[in-house]
Amino acid sequence: MGSLLPRLSQSRSAVWIATALIGIVLILLPFAFGMLGNAWVRALAFACLYVMLALGLNIVVGFAGLLDLGYIAFYAVGAYMYALLASPHLTSTFPWIAQMFPNGLHNSIWLVIPLGAGLAALFGIVLGAPVLKLRGDYLAIVTLGFGEIIRIFLNNLNAPVNITNGPQGITLIDPISFGNVSLAKTQHFLGITFPSVHLYYYLFLVLTLITIVICVRLQDSRLGRAWMAIREDEIAAKAMGINVRNVKLLAFSLGATFGGVSGAMFSAFQGFVSPESFTLNESIIVLAMVVLGGLGHIPGVVLGAVLLAIFPEVLRHTVTPVQTFLFGHVVIDAEVLRMMLYGLAMVLIMLYRPKGLWPAPEHGVNPSSRAAPRGA
């Protein structure tokens, strides 16, 4: 808990310099990657969204120890909420809405972010409330079921009333704009050209940094300790007066808010949403990021998310040409290979490095002179 910081803050100027350096690297990153191709910068932007998702799931799985296999449902909720509020779908489907909003439905980011967070939190409470007393395995399956239920509804709520437009999804979604500055258009600042994808990257980067700060603060708080206590021994936590039910619900809904906000951003970035983006596979990928990185350890989770988000891009650029070179055509599709490797990685990590690639460093010292204690 807060393990990295005490050591670093021993030299305050070191911390500032390191932060500044990291900041500069992060700002310049899209330009560097941009030289390799736009796809790489898009990957960076998506990496930020995945980091947010992973951190949100980390609150649920890593901090509170609740295995949620349907986390992507919150991402879907945020995405579809924004899609409905910022696209022509509702106005073209329902004439009475078109009458209320003659200029079409558009919404400012300042409204969308809190709304996405709030709606997702609400879903978190609704989905979490009935299932929180369930034990690990069961909770996992039930949350998986919920995730699938949401996807099925999104896929089928196009009749009798067309709310979600079914499998075709919702298109023509507004990009994010700050006043007159639309992130979908190339902008010029101080003589530098910023293509749209760079702008989105910066926005997502800011949101991600805010997410990281929130998570760190939650971890080192009364609530964070309560989560950890529940994860370690639920009965003892109750005996210490912790209202386990409410605290678990808080984990669920706070975790959900990150999903909701990043979902809304995803929706705006892509300009298009469909139920295809919110399958069980996606929930599993986010889980893989948390598990691979280091369950409960914020820097680990960030690392896991970045690695797994960039990985498909890397694969696409190596596996495809290599195979074409060796075999004349692509034998194993990069997408398929990606999922296979994710699956393998999950197995291998649990077998050989269950705490993740970058686990939390051991608390305190293991006094070698003490006799090994019984109990606890």
Partner: protein, 309 residues
């Protein structure tokens, strides 16, 4: 719209298959307290192996009778599934027997994904047609129609389940399995080799999954790399409904779930005044799962277990 009898028959067909799959889940959970997430994928491999075998035989020896081909398919599928599930147990579950509950669940998910992707590579992404090998002429039955295939599914499942009950209750292996499920250490002290019993449990579950897979493919005429996911999930629901760890419970749960799904799909249009259509039938299983776990987590036939401080 189908008649009531028709729905019931459909429900029994569906339910029989769910029962077979649910038995695999419940037996493994009874012994290891583990949800074998990869069970549905074992089913997939079974169905696809059977399909490949049948297609191969058809190309090599055209003119073989349908029932022969199906048996051949089954005989090929079962050993493959057994080996696959034993490998999974040995590699992914055994090393984690004493790890916190999260670990084997995550490996199970990982294994499931690996199997799916390998199946995708070997058999492709597309839906493959499973040939109609048994006579397809419908048989009239009190206002409903069935095919030979569907009748066979019901009959064969019943036979297999009776066989399993006999195995579990009347044989030495069955006793060993029940003992290990109650208390592995003490069973070990009585001379039972827990690893052997666990392996046997997986093997039996895998055989049932292979059978269910072939039945599914034969009944619906289609097989593909993801076909085991939904039936697997629903069968797990059935196992929980009946009381996880309880063998008759899995059978009961499977049949019940099949009936509820068939009847629900048939009548949901009427019940909701056309708002919800039958493509919501998958949602039933999930909703039942949630309800059971919230209100009666021990299931219909299971025991109530209290928390000990």
């Amino acid at each position: 719209m189908d008649t009531f009898i028709q729905q019931i028959l459909n429900g029994l067909v569906l339910g029989s298959m769910y029962s077979l799959i649910a038995l695999g889940y419940t037996m493994v959970y009874g012994i290891l307290n583990l949800i074998n997430f990869a069970h549905g994928d074992v089913l997939t491999v079974g169905a696809l192996t059977a399909l490949s075998t049948i297609l191969l035989l058809q190309t090599l020896f055209p003119g073989l009778p349908g029932w022969f081909l199906i048996c051949a398919g089954l005989l090929a599928a079962i050993p493959v599934c057994v080996v696959l599930s034993l490998v999974i147990e040995r590699v992914a579950y055994r090393p984690l027997r004493n790890a916190p509950r999260l670990a084997p669940l995550i490996t199970a998910i990982g294994v499931s994904i690996v199997i799916q992707t390998v199946a995708m590579l070997v058999w492709g992404r597309n839906y493959l047609t499973f040939p109609q090998l048994l006579p397809t002429s419908p048989i009239e039955f009190g206002g409903a129609t069935v095919t030979v295939t569907k009748l066979l599914v019901i009959a064969l499942s019943a036979l297999v389940m009776i066989g399993l009950m006999l195995l579990v209750n009347r044989t030495k292996l069955g006793r060993a399995m029940r003992a290990t499920a109650e208390n592995p250490r003490v069973a070990g002290l009585m001379g039972v080799n827990p690893n052997f019993v666990i392996a046997a449990t997986f093997a039996i579950g895998a055989s049932l999954a292979a059978l269910a897979g072939v039945m599914l493919a034969a009944t619906y005429g289609v097989a593909h790399f993801y076909m085991g996911f939904l039936p697997g999930l629903k069968a797990f629901t059935a196992a929980v409904l009946g009381g996880i760890g309880n063998i008759p419970g899995a059978m009961l749960g499977g049949l019940l779930l099949g009936l509820i799904e068939a009847l629900g799909a048939g009548y949901i249009g009427q019940l909701t005044g056309g708002v919800l259509g039958s493509h919501y039938q998958d949602v039933f299983a999930f909703l039942i799962l949630v309800m059971v776990l919230i209100f009666r987590p021990s299931g219909l036939l299971g025991e109530r277990v209290a928390d000990r401080a």
